[in-house]
Structures are given as C-alpha cells and as structure tokens.
Symmetry: C2
Subunit: 206 residues, 2 copies
Amino acid sequence: MSISTRRARERANTHERIIEAALHVLETEGPAALTIRRIAGDVEYSAPVVYQHFANKDALVLELVAHGHRLMLTEVLHAVQEADVDLRMRRIASEYVRFAGEHPHLYQVMNDPAVDTDERRRVVEPAIDSLKELLTTWSAAHDVVLADLDEACEALWGTMHGIASLGHLGNDRARRLAEHTLQAILLGWRTKVFANDQNQQKEMRG
Amino acid sequence: MSISTRRARERANTHERIIEAALHVLETEGPAALTIRRIAGDVEYSAPVVYQHFANKDALVLELVAHGHRLMLTEVLHAVQEADVDLRMRRIASEYVRFAGEHPHLYQVMNDPAVDTDERRRVVEPAIDSLKELLTTWSAAHDVVLADLDEACEALWGTMHGIASLGHLGNDRARRLAEHTLQAILLGWRTKVFANDQNQQKEMRG
DNA sequence: TAGATTTCCTAACGTTGTTAACCATGGCGC
DNA sequence: GCGCCATGGTTAACAACGTTAGGAAATCTA
C-alpha cells in the first residue's frame, strides 16, 4: 500500500501548493487577480485541476481565510508575551492592526462579508476564545465584573476591526489609535458602564 | 431651446430611474444580483444604455455609495434631536448601527474596500465633519481636551463601523453594544487617556 | 500484456462587464 | 412637405470569469 500513500502525499502536496500560490497572488496583486486560471497557471496546471482539490472558488478562499486567521493568531500571540494584563491587551491590539496593515488584501478577504458568515465565524472562533480568556483574567485582575463577557469581547473585537479597516492613516498611527481606544474602553469599563448603574453615569455626566 | 431642456430632463430622469432600480435590486437581492443587464432590464432598457449615464459599473456603485451615505446621514440626524450631548452621541451611535442593520447590503457596499478608497473618503466626509462638530461640543461641555480631534473622530467612527459590521447578533443587541462601547470610550477619554499622562494611567492600573 | 483507474487537458457553456456597428425616430433647413 | 442628420436605442460581439463534460494519456493491477 505504499503506492496509495505516495499518491495521497502527492495529492496533499499539490493541495498545499495551490493554497500557497493563491495566497501569494492575493497578497501581491489583490483580490481582483485571484482567479482560478491564474492560480492554476502559477502551479503549472490547467484550471480544472483546482476543482479536484476544492469544490469551488468559495471553498478555496475559505481556506485562505482560515490560513490567514491562524497566521494572525500565532503572529499576535508570539509577538507579545507580557506579564501586565493591561500592557498585554494594548500590545495585542497593536499587533492586530499591524497584521491588518501588513497584509491588507489578505485581511480584506478575511473580513469580506461575501464569504459565508457561519463559516467565517467558525474560523475566527479560536481567536475569539483566546481574547475571551484574556479578558476574563483582565476583569479578575481589576475586580471588574463584565455584565456579558461575550458582548464585551465582541465590542473589543469589533472596535479593533473597525480601526484596522479604516484604510487611510498609516500603520503607526493606526496602531497608536487602536492602543488608545482600547485603553479608553477598558478605563470606561472599570468605571462600571456595564453595571448599568444609571445614577453613577448621571453623576459623571453632570 | 425648450426641446433641449426637455431632452436634458428626460435624460436626468432615466439617470435617476437607473439609480433607483439599482438601489432596489441591491437592497432586496444583494450585491451578487447587482448586474448591468439586470438593472437595465428593470428600467426596461437594454444594457448599453446604462453606459450613456455611467462610465462603468464602478461609477454606478459609487453613486449608490454616495446615495447611501446621504441617506444614512439624514436619517441619523433626523432621528435624534437631543439636548444633552452625551445622550445625543449615544443615540447617534445607536441609529448608525440601526441603519447598518436595516440596510445590510447597502451598508456592505458603502464600506466595501473594493470601491476606490479616495472616492469613498470623499463621500463620507460630510458625515465625518458632522461627527467632528458634535465631538468638539462634547469635549467643550466636559472640559476635555482631545490631543487629536481627527484621531478621536476616527476612533469613534471605526468603532461604530466595527460593531455594525459584526454581522451575527441582532439589531437590538448591536445597538446596545454600540451605545455601551461608545459610552465606555467617552468615559475613558474623560479620564484623560489622550493626555498621555502615563503617571495617571499607572496609578489607575495598579 | 490487457484491462481498469487515476490524472490531466482541451473544449465548451453560461454569465459577467464592455464596446462596436447598425437602425430608427424625430427635429431642422430648404 | 421633403431630405438630412443627430440622437437614442438595439443587437451582436469580445474577452475573461467560474465551472463542467469528455477524452487522451499515463499509471497501476491482474
């Protein structure tokens, strides 16, 4: 049975090569250049071969999206090991928008509403979990009780994405902006916005 | 010369009808259905007449984007007239994500990175200016000096967009989340994150 | 070596944006 | 009123896209 394993190995190999070629085209020339024939040509095959490895183009770009999220998660986590929780969150926010700025086209398809929403959610889940974990240790460290952990997490995630997808403003400014905004939100939470304590809010507002 | 004015009127009329048809298709069936032939068919013309009114498809969708932003701005501003500045900002944030939730496809192309970035910026400018104005009155009302008004503005805008583009989570939850996050940011700003006063931040962190 | 299977390619279909060539209708000068 | 011309419309086509069918060729199996 060594022959079938070799076949499987070769198959897996071209599968990988297709993904790498697609990733390269996407990052260097943008989503418009990401066509089946182009990818096939880059791996020196004809177009239909791609369909032996992916059901359709959507399935292929979904794998690109998954790859992108794995890459982003490992890069971000690797780049920041920091004892202080607040500093860690700040640096993570910074690294997040750095990744978005350094891989604009990849980041774009990673958050393209055109790719199936459920699949996209499934693929982001690990990163979300990681953030959720971090957020719980943060709230514990400051004796802050978040009314809804999921919502708090989505707020942070959405905010970082929003700033990252602003476009203009260079990478450095975007990173600083993300850090500042994150810090402002955390500071706000420590003043118990989520405690729904209207009195306290009124008091501060006046 | 009444004849040429009539011609111009007719011309402007079909121009408008094309836009309306395109908008209708986009909102009811999504961006995938937004094809030249489909739009032309809906106004009972053949495809090439569209090119007598728009240089190409990009120009058409750019007009849709502009229309969308005008619509959003007027709806938001009209829906909220509120004396208290903080409440006004909260309600504006809420109305922003409401609009995004009620016009998902329109909102999607309004923020599609595929449409030219410069043109998109040009089209959003009025809304940005409006927000900037509101933000200055807010900062004045609270004796808060924002280190960089533009950046503060972008932070808010990006945050609202990020939350609005989260997708899942229903409209009501998204609105609440937007309100809470905005409030947290404002609260954070009042604690002078932008003052770059590291000592104060350290003091709060500890 | 003959048959079966796997792998790959060429050719094609339908649809997209876009352009060229043509037709007709209606306003203008004589 | 008649012929001319511009304007507005259509049909037909092109290139490129995603995708599928059918066949050729290489490779394994017996």
